[in-house]
């Protein structure tokens, strides 16, 4: 008889795997992708493809020639970084910059630290912030959404709602007059507004979030804490001075808040492990986002706030442990 396998228990293993989870995330991004392809046309498709291909290519090059280690480019994580990076840049960004952003995201953001699961900062956001600081003009020239277009150049550009408010309030204009220049809330929710490739449609992103919740890919703690604290914090200012500060609904459905709360702040490697830690992390992201939007130099603060909170994750993990069984004994 052949020798029997002897291994420690358990002898059952879940069907779930890293790549199944990663491709689940990619699948949940499809609605948001379709909306952005509709409003920004061919350029959005090409930007997304460029980012995905370059992220996977850079991961391959680094693993094969620099680390000389195992190849993991098909585990789906590089693909997610690519999609999310594309989602975080304007649809008319020159392709060269997309490639540079991908190199920074994968190289500096992920592989430097040992690859999947070891990076302290969200790689796509590292790429985005690098581009933002290095190429501020290209990164803040947003095409206006139109119905599907195949034009690659000469798109009509215009300011995003957040920029309109930031600049307008800076000039001393009132919120009510500025709101006239902004699409109504229904259009904001659907995604008919200026902005980065994938951040525009709140509805599509929420749909993807619900799918991930149902498949237990993410838990509700971080997104709810993030969105809730952003809404609550902005409401305080709005209630005090409604002519200087926009209302919470505006904040929720503009800029990268939905994309950030649902996809970037829930990134496994760069967010806390325990539920209580996730809530603190989400609340921190929400507060910082609103502080930057209302008082910072940039009109948008989601990317910065998540990266700042990423830095606190090891501390949060140390301070916020799961509730131990038998810890608080309430008997009776």
């Amino acid at each position: 008889m052949k020798a029997l396998t002897v291994s420690g228990s358990p002898h059952f293993h879940t069907e779930q795997s890293v790549s199944k989870i990663m491709y689940g995330v990619v699948f949940s991004l499809v609605p948001a992708m379709l909306v952005s392809f509709y409003f920004f046309g061919l350029p959005a498709i090409l930007i997304t493809l460029t980012a995905v291909v370059s992220c996977m290519a850079f991961e391959f090059i680094i693993q094969k020639y620099l680390i000389k280690g195992p190849l993991t480019i098909f585990d789906g994580s590089a693909m997610i970084t690519g999609v999310l990076l594309a989602f975080n840049v304007p649809a008319n960004l020159p392709f060269g910059l997309v490639v540079i952003g991908s190199a920074v995201a994968i190289g500096m953001g992920k592989m430097t630290f040992g690859g999947l699961g070891k990076n302290p900062f969200n790689p796509a956001l590292v790429g985005r912030v690098f581009l933002m600081i290095s190429f501020p003009v290209q990164m803040t020239t947003y095409p206006e959404p139109t119905a599907f277009t195949t034009k690659l150049t000469d798109a009509v550009t215009g300011p995003t709602p957040l920029t309109i408010i930031k600049d307008g309030v800076g000039r001393g204009e009132s919120i009510s007059s500025l709101m006239m220049q902004i699409p109504d809330y229904m259009n904001l929710m659907m995604g008919n507004l200026g902005g980065s490739v994938g951040e525009i449609s709140a509805i599509a992103l929420i749909l993807g979030g619900i799918y991930m919740l149902l498949r237990k890919i993410i838990s509700w703690h971080t997104p709810v804490a993030f969105l809730g604290s952003a809404a609550a914090f902005s409401a305080i200012f709005w209630l005090i001075q409604p002519e200087v500060y926009p209302d919470p609904v505006f904040h929720l459905f503009t800029g990268g808040l939905m994309l950030g709360a649902i996809y970037m702040a829930t990134d496994y490697a760069t967010s806390p492990m325990a539920p209580r830690g996730m809530i603190l992390f989400g609340v921190g992201c929400g507060l910082l986002t609103i502080i930057i939007r209302l008082f910072g130099a940039y009109p948008e603060g989601v990317a910065f706030s998540i990266l700042i909170m990423n830095a606190f994750v090891p501390l949060i993990n140390r301070a916020f442990k799961p509730k131990r069984f038998g810890e608080e004994v309430k008997n009776g």
Binding site: H11, V18, L116, S219, K321, K323, R324, F325, V329
Partner: protein, 437 residues
């Protein structure tokens, strides 16, 4: 809190318990229970009868052991048991099937008993009853409530949350009355007037059957539970049934509970009412490739190979044989290992089912932490143990881990979390013993 839902695979749940004839020879280990091994009281060449005392459990935590067959003691020697180590055992060559005097072997139900609590506990001790769920803690110790503590509930564990196993399920279906009488005797021994039988919803027939019988036994109720692994663990079951949390490092009596398996309740019935020592038990033999998944009533000491033969033989593509459930059972390296008091199942895995998925980087998905029934952080404990930071392991409460295996089961990266945690527990245990001198 926590928990996982592995596939149930209860292939043998409709198979009635089948009695296997005694084999040609048995090997009865002296250590089949938690605590000190029993001391042999027979020697080579002695004639023994089934049910005769052959080893005495003298230490505070130990248990008596009885001959499961009649015949001649061949020798007392080291035999590889389910742990994979060679342990002392009494080997008996079987001759006929003579039973010791005083044991009632007919199946008629005896309900009434006029024994006192002390007398019941004495019988449970005499007859070598141990926890039948797998932990094999000597039952008489659990029935003695320590000074200063008070028992409120007897909890009867009919959860059988391990996938594949159906031994307890069948016992509940076929020996429901006996389990009730056994539970009543345990209640009397403990001095409690409330007993709860916890059964998971995946056994609706057992819930219905026992609920009907329980109506005739004052104080005993049946409580259906949601299906969740590891709900059959003592602390988790107490939480689910009476919503009390046993403090870290403490026993259930701390919160007024004593937990016994349904198999133990049945064994107590047989010991007290029928004078029958624990010399046979129900063992599930199952697996996706097993021809005839079965539940067998077998004599203690029977080689595992005989059970597999009775279930249709060892399939050609067998890769692993497990003693116990798929989540906590031990993989065997030898099929001549004897069945002991704690053997609840023998599971056969095909070669394909025998290997673990390849290991990848931890993606910090927090699944292990979310499902840990003890509220621990398996990813952290595992990596601390790997780095030999054992003091940190202790501070992170590694000793609370009951090795249920949920973390290793759920890990999408195929990390051997529990393997490292076991090493850590071992070393922390050593540290604690050294500290206390």
């Amino acid at each position: 809190m926590g928990g996982v839902h592995p596939p149930e695979n209860k292939f043998a749940e409709k198979r009635s318990v089948e009695r296997l004839e005694p084999p040609k020879s048995v090997a009865i280990p002296l250590s089949q229970h938690l605590g000190a091994p029993a001391k042999a009281v027979v020697g080579k060449g002695d004639k023994v009868q089934a049910g005769q005392l052959i080893a005495k459990g003298e230490a505070f935590i130990s248990a008596n052991i009885h001959a499961s067959v009649s015949g001649t003691v061949a020798k007392i020697d080291g035999v590889i048991d389910a742990s994979g180590y060679r342990k002392k055992a009494i080997l008996i060559n079987v001759e006929g099937d003579e039973w010791a005097e005083g044991i009632e072997r007919d199946e008629s139900l005896i309900e009434d008993s006029n024994l006192t609590a002390e007398e019941i506990i004495k019988k449970v001790y005499d007859k070598g009853i141990v926890g039948m769920g797998g932990a094999t803690f000597p039952s008489h110790v659990k029935l003695k409530v320590p000074k200063g503590k008070k028992a409120e509930y007897l909890i009867i564990n009919g959860v059988e949350c391990e996938p594949c196993l159906t031994a307890d399920h069948r016992l509940m279906m076929e020996k429901g009355q006996e389990i009730m009488v056994g539970a009543s005797l345990q209640m009397k021994a403990l001095g409690v007037d409330k007993a709860i039988i916890g059964i998971e919803n995946n056994k609706p027939d057992a819930i219905a059957h026992l609920s009907k019988i329980a109506a005739g036994y004052p104080g005993i109720s049946v409580e259906p539970l949601k299906v969740k692994y590891p709900q059959g663990a003592e602390k988790q079951l107490i939480k689910a049934l009476v919503n009390r949390e046993v403090p870290s490092g403490k026993l259930p009596i701390e919160v007024g509970c004593v937990v016994h398996n349904v198999g133990t309740a049945f064994a107590v019935y047989e010991a007290v009412q029928k004078n029958k020592p624990l010399i046979e038990r129900v063992v599930t033999v199952s697996g996706s490739s097993v021809k005839k998944p079965s539940n067998f009533m077998v004599r203690i000491g029977t080689p595992v190979a005989e059970l597999i033969e009775a279930a249709g033989g060892l399939p050609d593509d067998t890769g692993k044989v497990v003693n116990g459930g798929p989540m906590m059972g031990k993989a065997l390296n030898d099929l001549n290992v004897p069945v002991t008091k704690g053997t609840s199942g023998i599971l056969i895995f095909t070669e394909k089912e025998s290997s673990r998925p390849p290991e990848q980087n931890c993606i910090r998905c927090a699944r292990c932490l979310t499902i840990c029934p003890m509220g621990l952080e398996p990813y952290l404990l595992s990596s601390l143990a790997e780095k030999q930071r054992f003091q940190d392991c202790e501070d992170e409460r590694i000793m609370d881990c009951m090795e249920c295996g949920s973390c290793l089961y759920i890990c999408p990266s195929g990390k051997p979390l529990l393997d490292h945690i076991r090493v850590g527990k071992n070393r922390v245990g050593q540290m604690i013993r050294e500290r206390s001198g």
